[in-house]
């Protein structure tokens, strides 16, 4: 079995430029991590704020020995967004993550990977992407273990990646729900999504935490946490484990998963340490276990909800 690798997903939220710069500086200098994603995945309107800093950040991360992946938009609608994709497809020597089929269509013939927003549900689809040169496929979040195992079995040289930590993207829309919650439209949104660094909390009318709104994107309220299943995932052929950035101490969180992958700590210790960092985090692992995605099978000593 090859050594398991750890990847930091793209920042999904509209953090301000200093927040993002600090984050990538820490990732470059303080984290033992193999791969780092940069780029805007959720909303093209956010791009002008940070695109100018990307070349320096990419260079710094590469100089620190990280593999850099440029992630692209999940929902591509306008001609301008297509033009941006065409430009990105010309960038030399960078692994690009397609998150919409449009990007995939433009990336054949250059280093690329298939992101989790593209539907890879079965062997035929995986084989198709592999035949077109996809180096890695990050699987959709709702896949159960049986599907992941079947895909791991079917793959040849294509690497398989699964997200093991962070809120789960559940939906994307043309409509901006952050703007709508503030009585605004997308075209005059005032970038209110930036007010919620981990997404705007959405509860049921019974006050049960349920979802988190991040502009066009809707995420789970719960944080996926698959440490208890990492050994099964490794055995199924998963080589890359993604953690998704939050407004938490990501240096410590990355370190915990690094130690877990290297079998220096176990999942109980990882979960305990996460709780010590942030006691109010609610975890889930339901998708993997063919349960409702919000469910938590591996409670790992926590009080059962």
């Amino acid at each position: 079995m090859t050594k398991s690798r750890l990847a930091m997903g793209p920042i999904l939220f509209h953090w301000d430029e200093n927040h993002k710069k600090d984050f990538y500086a820490k990732v470059a200098d303080e984290i033992d991590i193999d791969t780092v994603h940069v780029g805007e995945v959720v909303c093209a309107k956010r791009m002008p704020f940070f695109d100018k800093y990307l070349p320096d950040i990419i260079e710094r991360l590469q100089a620190a020995g990280k593999e850099v992946v440029l992630s692209t938009l999940a929902l591509v609608m306008s001609e301008r967004e297509i033009a941006q994709l065409r430009e990105i497809a010309q960038m030399p020597d960078l692994l690009i993550e397609a998150n919409d089929v449009s990007a995939f269509g433009l990336l054949s013939g250059r280093p690329h990977m298939i992101g989790p927003y593209i539907n890879t549900y079965n062997e035929s689809t995986l084989e198709y992407f592999a035949s077109k040169g996809a180096r890695r496929i990050s699987l959709p979040w709702e896949l159960p273990m049986s599907s992941i195992a079947a895909l791991g079995h079917a793959r040849k040289s294509t690497e398989i990646e699964v997200q093991v930590f962070g809120r789960v993207p559940l939906a994307i829309s043309a409509r901006c729900y952050s703007a709508r919650a503030h009585g605004l439209h997308k075209d005059g949104c005032r970038y209110v999504c930036g007010d919620a660094p981990d997404g705007m909390d959405v509860a049921t009318l019974d006050a049960t935490p349920f979802l988190a709104v991040n502009g066009l994107q809707t995420l789970s309220s719960h944080y996926i946490e698959l440490s208890a299943d990492v050994d099964h995932l490794k055995a199924a052929g998963v080589e890359v484990f993604r953690i998704s950035p939050h407004n938490l101490d990501m240096v410590q969180i990355a370190t915990l998963y690094r130690q877990l992958l290297d079998t220096k700590i176990d999942s109980h210790e990882l979960r305990d340490r996460l709780h010590q960092m942030q006691s109010n985090l609610a975890f889930s692992d339901g998708f993997l276990h063919s349960l409702p995605g919000a469910a938590l099978k591996e409670t790992l000593g926590q009080p059962v909800e």
């Binding site: 449009s102 079965n122 043309a174 919000a294």
Partner: protein, 328 residues
């Protein structure tokens, strides 16, 4: 514009044919289609008989095989495509890339349409499906504005079909796991959204609570009409305010913009609702038929249609959705 109408049963298919459909679309009775509801859809024999009936009346039949095949069980989806082609449907509606490739290789002459579940929302995505799999028509996701559709039609050599009436996803189709987050069953994997087997209603004092799995989707006062708890049409609380965060309980209705859609180069109008009864199908299809015929003869297509259809809309309100950019 071609009028593409839903049928969940052979009786509904006949009703749609008689009410003036140009095309009826339907699915097999299993997880291969995105309306996998109890008591709905077609056996192989029913589809064969229905295709014969429709063809006799000059009406085409499309078969939707538009969920994402489960790893390890792809043969179920392959068989559905093989059987539909053998029965002689006029097009197969697909979403999954692996399944498109199978259909293209195995049935090079079959007409393939791209399902809305593939969420092809731009020219490069549509070009990809056309180039790689010879897709002849794309059902556009309900995220595009009229202007964006017009631009697309100018730039792509593929027919476009748009949703005209009925239930409306507010999220990009085929990219939504909200239902499986609450219930474990999703449109992509199981062909269901907010499935009825996970729905319950509770009386709580003067209020009625609608729940999906473990989550409350709405609480209705005694003066409010209780609706089905489709997750994205629920009432939730954010920033200290309760409300319809994603969308009101409303339906799509494009009757107000039919001439604009025709002018934008749209080939076909699709009516949602394979889960609906045949009376509903007759009424909606009949109203759209009359309206399209009036437009074809140069008259006002909208006259008379709206009163007919408003009573059928979910929550009795309607919207033109993303077609008007202000919706976004």
């Amino acid at each position: 514009m071609e009028l593409v109408c839903p049928a969940g049963t052979p009786a509904s298919l006949r009703a749609a044919v008689e009410a003036g459909a140009d095309v009826v679309y339907c699915g097999f009775r299993d997880a291969t289609n995105a309306r996998n509801f109890p008591g709905l859809n077609f056996s192989r024999t029913e589809l064969a008989e229905s295709v014969t009936f429709a063809h006799k009346h000059g009406v085409h039949v499309y078969l939707a095989c538009n969920t994402y095949p489960k790893a390890g069980s792809e043969d179920i989806w392959h068989k559905a495509v093989d059987d539909a082609v053998a029965i002689g449907v006029d097009a197969v509606i697909l979403a999954d890339i692996g399944l498109l490739r199978y259909a293209r290789d195995k049935h090079p002459d079959a007409r393939l349409h791209l399902s809305v579940q593939a969420s092809a929302s731009n020219e490069e995505a549509i070009r990809f499906y056309h180039r790689e799999f010879g897709v002849r028509r794309v059902v556009l996701p309900r995220v595009l504005s009229l202007e964006e559709i017009r631009m697309l039609n100018r730039r792509i050599g593929v027919e476009t079909e748009v949703f005209a009436f009925g239930g409306m996803c507010v999220m990009a189709e085929g990219r939504c796991s909200l239902s499986s987050y609450a219930t474990g069953e999703s449109p992509n994997m199981n062909g269901v959204c907010s499935p009825a087997s996970y729905v319950h209603y509770e009386e709580r004092g003067d209020t009625t609570v609608s729940r999906l799995g473990d989550f409350t989707i709405n609480i209705y006062g005694s003066d409010e009409k209780v609706g089905y708890p489709t997750l994205c049409k629920g009432r939730f609380s954010a920033m200290g305010k309760a409300g319809y965060l994603f969308e009101e309980p409303t339906s799509l209705d494009v009757t107000a913009i039919l001439p604009e859609l025709a002018d934008a180069g749209v080939t076909a109008l699709k009516i949602e609702g394979r889960q609906r009864g045949k009376a509903y199908i007759s009424q909606v299809v009949g109203a759209f038929r009359a309206s399209l015929d009036r437009i074809a003869s140069g008259q006002n297509g909208q006259a008379g249609i709206r009163g007919n259809l408003t009573s059928l809309s979910e929550g009795q309100t309607d919207t033109t959705g993303a077609y008007r950019r202000s919706w976004q």
